[in-house]
Symmetry: C2
Subunit: 168 residues, 2 copies
């Protein structure tokens, strides 16, 4: 047995989407305890020219499903970015997780060598599978997951390191 891309990608996405769900629940509990609308937290950002929490969740979803799809030779499903409530964001996470889990492990065979194309607004990135995974997908995915955690911490939600690392 060696490290497979299927195990790395599916486990990474699964556990971090679970962590995001927990973070959203803790945000809701904090807002309720302090008697303010959790929407304030969902709209919070760490800099005026950065995305707010809602968009960070959507981007974590996009990176998670994008990584799983592209490395298994599928076109990533397109999810409309229409979530405005905490429940809708949790549904987005669940939908993302269900998609990633639905991919057969065998579909990731040879992912290291697969050519991966990532279109952006201005250009198209072309990667080898391993470079895409290590140099683009994982850092981007973790960026958005960490941003959600840090937006909440910055706004006084009581979270510990275990809320980032998840259940063990």
């Amino acid at each position: 047995m060696s490290l497979t891309v299927a195990a790395l990608v599916k486990t990474t996405v699964r556990r971090n989407l679970q962590i995001l769900e927990t973070l959203l629940d803790k945000a809701a509990a904090h807002a309720a305890a302090k008697n303010f609308d959790v929407g304030v937290l969902l709209g919070s950002r760490l800099a005026p020219d950065m995305f707010p929490l809602t968009r960070q969740i959507q981007l974590a979803s996009d990176m998670g499903k994008g990584m799983a799809a592209r490395l298994s030779g599928q076109k990533p499903p397109s999810f409309e970015d229409v979530e405005t409530t905490l429940d809708e964001l949790k549904q987005r996470l669940a939908r993302t997780a269900a998609y990633v889990e639905s991919i057969d492990d065998a579909a990731f065979d040879g992912a290291e060598q697969r050519e991966v194309r990532v279109p952006t607004r201005t250009e198209e990135f072309v990667f080898g599978g391993q470079d895409y995974l290590v140099g683009f997908a994982l850092p981007n995915f973790y960026f958005h997951v960490t941003a959600v955690y840090l937006i909440l911490r910055h706004n006084g939600v009581e979270l510990g390191k275990r809320d980032f690392l998840g259940a063990r």
Copy 2:
């Protein structure tokens, strides 16, 4: 060829330490342009009960060398947390990178099954190598790298997404 732990770990550490070095340089340039001591940024944090930037760099270093050492069957070298200046932090990054590069790829063979013990102040975690890598080392490492980026963005340093993803 398949994804090897050696390639995943060494590439991840190398590229992110390079990114942190670039972030420190941009922090210094920002402070110089605005005529304040870069030490203000090194002491900045996103919440009163979170670590400041200097400590986030030290922890990224610890996670990087810890991940490489533990998965290659070595005891992580202990670096004293004594850095107070930007140059010292850059030296810490360089020292960490040199250590990780010094490990022979072959030492990572079988890392997925290696038992990994991580002592903390209060307990000792015991993992299988793959669980340690996917569920502890990578998320922790990316947490601290992302925290450095976000502390700087929050404090007005002009950084783009490419400063997080690094050169391609």
